[in-house]
Symmetry: C2
Subunit: 405 residues, 2 copies
C-alpha cells in the first residue's frame, strides 16, 4: 500500500472548524487506499504569540528554552487533529517530534535533521492508523527538544517522506500553488503545473516566498516528489515539484520581484588582486550574505565596487564596508535602498541565449534602466530603481509568460 | 548540600510579571545555599482553555490525545520560568515530565507514578543548575505522555522530593496556608502552623480544598515533610505538614463544612443479614462513594437506612437505590439535598472522649439539630440542615479553636 505524507501549515489549522475540515481531507485520502502520515505546524499565530510572551520575560530569548517553548505549539495541533480524526471513525496516533524518531544536531532554533528513525511511524501505519507528527521539531543527541527554524514543518514532512519512501508528499497551504508571478501584483499571473526543484530554489532566493529552501534542497537530494496544494479548495491541483528534464522552449517559468534589497558602493579603490577579497571576506566573517556584485572598468588602476545585501543587514554591512573601504583608501562609500530586484527563472535558460536579450529589451521598452545584472544557469536578475519595480515586473511577465502560451 | 523542592501552581504563574517574581524567589533560595528543584503547573487557566478547545473538536475527549494536549501547558511554564531564572544570572535546566524520569502506568488522564529515575535531575543539580520540571505529567511504559489528574503537580513535587531525598518540599500557592476553617466563612479562622498528614487527608475528605489527597498520601508513605506557603507574601511561613505525635490537649486542629452532600433514605426494609450489603454492593459496583451510613433501630424486623453521597452522584445513586429498594420491598425511597456536613479534625481525638460531647453541646446551644453522626480516630462529622450550616460551623470553631488558645 502506498504511503502519502501530508503537511498542513498554521493557516490551515487556525481554528477548530479548519482542523475538522483538515481531518476530513486526511480521512478521505486514507479511504482512497493510502497509508497516511500527517505533519502539522502550530495553529495560526501560536508561534508568534509564544515568542512575544518569551520576549517579555527574557528579551535575549535563550535558544534551548525557546525550543522547548515553541515545540508545544505543534503538539497542540497534533493532539487536536488526532481527536478530530477519531470523531470520523479512524484511529490516529500522535507523536511529538522526538517520539517520531527525528534526530537533529544540537543547534537550537535552527537544528538540522541528522537522521530519522521511522520505526515507530511504520509500526503505527501497519496497525492501519493515521500517524500525526509534530512538525518543526526534533530531539538532539543531548536529549533536548530542538526546532528546525521557520518553515521547518515543510522539512519535517519532506524528510519523513524520504525516510519512509512515500509515494508523494503533499504540502497543503493557503495559496493555490506556485505562480508565474505574485498574483497580488500581476493579475495575469498563472498557476504553474510543474516545476523543478532548482527553479523553486531560485524563486526563494529571488524574493518569492514559497517554501523553506532547506526543505526543497532536501527533497532534491533524496528525490522526493512533492506537490504544493491549497487546503480549502479541494479542486485545486496545485503545483507539482520534481526533477525535470530541460525542455525545449517555454524557458521562463516564473518572474519575481524582491524589494528587500539594498546596494552599497565603494568608490575608487585600488584595482589590484586581493582588494575585492578583503571586502567580501570581512562581510562573510559577519555572516552577511552578499547577493550581486559588480566592479566597474578600471580607470587608472582604480575601480568602483557595488554589491547588494538584504535590507535587514544593510546597517551592519555598511559599517563594515566603511571600515574596510577607509583602510583601502576609498574615496567614498554610499548606500542605496531605492532599488529592487527583478528575476526570471527557468530550466535550461542557458541553452537559449536570446533570453537575456529579450529581458533587457522588455525593460527598455518601458523605459526601465538596469543598474546591475547577475545570471545563473536558470536565473537572470536585474537591479532596477524601486519606483520602476512594478512596471518592470509586469512587462517581463508579459514578455515571457503571457506571450508564451 | 541540602535539596529543596518547590512547587508553584497555576495562579502563581498566571502572567509574565508573576513568573519573574517566582524566579526571584527560586534564585534567593539557591543563594541561601540549597540545591533547588522546581515543579510547575500550567499558567493560570491554560488547562481549562485547552480542554474547552478540545471539547469543540471531540466532546468525548479521547484520553490519550487529551494528555498530549494538556502536557503542553506545563512545558510552556517550564520554558518561561527557565528564561526568567537565566535573566537573574543563574543557570536553569528545564525538563518535560518524561525527560525528568517520571514513569507512570498507562491510565491516561489519571496515571499513577510507578517510579522516578532521578538520575538526570541529580546530574543537572550537580552542575550547579536550578532544575525546573513540568508537573502533572509523566511517561507510560508505552512511551506515551500521561497526566496525573487534577492537582497532579503537587504529586510530582512530593514524589520527586521523595526520590531525591529532599530536605523539604515547599508547595507554593495563592493562600497563606492551611486554616482552622475556611477564612472566607469564619473570620476568626487562624492559620495552622503544623499539621499531620492524616489531619490534612481528613480535611480533604470533609470538603476543605487544600491539596490533592494522593499527594498527601504519597508524602505520608515516604515521610516527605512539606510546607504549604503563599507565593507572593514572602513573610508568610505557611503550614508545615509532617508526621506528628499525638499531643495532649488542643485536640481539634480544624473545622470544616461540606455543602456538596446529599442524603438518601430507604424506608422500611427487612432487618436481616445481607440487606445492607446488597444496597452498598450495588452502589460500590457503580463507583459511587458512600460517606456516612445510619440504620435506625429495628421495629418489628424492619429498619430504615440512610446514607450520604456527593451531590454529583446523587441522581445515579438514587436510581440504583430505587431499584434495589423495590427489590427488597422497601416502603419508600427519598432523597434530600437540604443538608451539609460539619466536621472537626484533630490528632488523638479518640483519647479525649469528651470531644464528641462538646461538639454536640455546641450545636445544641445554637439550636442545631444533628441528623447523622460519623466518627473516625481523628474526625467527627455531623450532618445538619443546610440552613444551619453557617451557624454550626462558626459555633464549633468558637468552641474548639477560639476558646482553646
Amino acid at each position: 500500500m502506498d504511503i502519502i505524507v501530508q503537511k498542513y501549515g498554521g493557516s490551515s489549522l487556525s481554528d477548530t472548524e479548519k482542523i475538522k475540515f483538515v481531518a476530513r481531507r486526511i480521512v478521505e485520502t486514507k479511504k482512497k487506499g493510502y497509508k497516511v502520515v500527517v505533519v502539522v505546524s502550530a495553529m495560526g499565530k501560536t508561534t508568534d504569540n509564544l515568542i512575544n510572551l518569551a520576549k517579555k520575560i527574557n528579551p535575549s530569548l535563550p535558544e534551548r528554552e525557546l525550543d522547548l517553548l515553541l515545540s508545544t505549539g505543534e503538539m497542540v495541533s497534533v493532539a487536536l487533529l488526532c481527536m478530530a480524526i477519531e470523531t470520523l471513525g479512524e484511529e490516529a496516533e500522535g507523536f511529538p517530534g522526538y517520539f517520531a524518531g527525528i534526530k537533529t544536531d544540537n543547534f537550537h532554533t535552527k537544528a538540522r535533521i541528522q537522521r530519522i528513525n521511522p520505526g515507530k511511524i511504520m509500526q503505527e501505519l501497519d496497525k492501519d492508523k493515521i500517524v500525526v507528527v509534530a512538525g518543526f521539531q526534533g530531539i538532539s543527541s543531548e536529549n533536548a527538544i530542538t526546532t528546525l527554524g521557520r518553515g521547518g514543518s515543510d522539512l519535517t514532512a519532506i524528510a519523513i517522506a524520504a525516510a519512509i519512501k512515500a509515494k508523494l508528499c503533499e504540502i497543503y497551504t493557503d495559496v493555490e500553488g506556485v505562480f508565474t508571478a505574485d498574483p497580488n501584483r500581476v493579475k495575469e499571473a498563472r498557476l504553474i503545473k510543474e516545476i523543478s526543484y532548482d527553479e523553486l530554489l531560485e524563486m526563494a532566493s529571488t524574493g518569492a516566498k514559497v517554501m523553506q529552501s532547506r526543505a526543497v534542497e532536501f527533497a532534491k537530494k533524496y528525490k522526493v516528489p512533492f506537490v504544493v496544494k491549497p487546503t480549502f479548495n479541494k479542486k485545486g491541483e496545485g503545483t507539482m515539484v520534481k526533477e525535470m528534464e530541460v525542455k525545449e522552449g517555454a524557458d521562463v517559468s516564473s518572474v519575481s520581484i524582491d524589494e528587500n534589497q539594498a546596494k552599497i558602493t565603494i568608490f575608487r579603490i585600488p584595482d589590484k588582486p586581493g582588494v575585492a577579497a578583503e571586502i567580501f571576506t570581512a562581510l562573510g566573517k559577519e555572516n552577511i550574505n552578499v547577493d550581486m556584485i559588480i566592479q566597474n572598468v578600471s580607470k587608472q588602476h582604480y575601480a568602483d565596487v557595488s554589491f547588494t545585501v538584504n535590507i535587514n543587514e544593510l546597517d551592519k554591512a555598511f559599517e563594515l564596508s566603511k571600515k574596510v573601504g577607509e583602510k583601502l583608501g576609498a574615496e567614498n562609500i554610499e548606500k542605496d535602498t531605492d532599488i529592487c530586484k527583478i528575476s526570471i527563472i527557468g530550466v535550461g535558460m542557458m541553452n537559449h541565449p536570446g533570453v537575456a536579450g529579450r529581458m533587457f529589451s522588455a525593460l527598455a521598452k518601458v523605459g526601465v534602466n538596469i543598474e546591475m545584472i547577475s545570471t545563473s544557469e536558470i536565473k537572470i536578475s536585474c537591479i532596477v530603481k524601486k519606483e520602476d519595480g512594478e512596471k518592470a515586473l509586469k512587462q517581463v511577465h508579459k514578455e515571457f509568460i503571457e506571450n508564451n502560451i
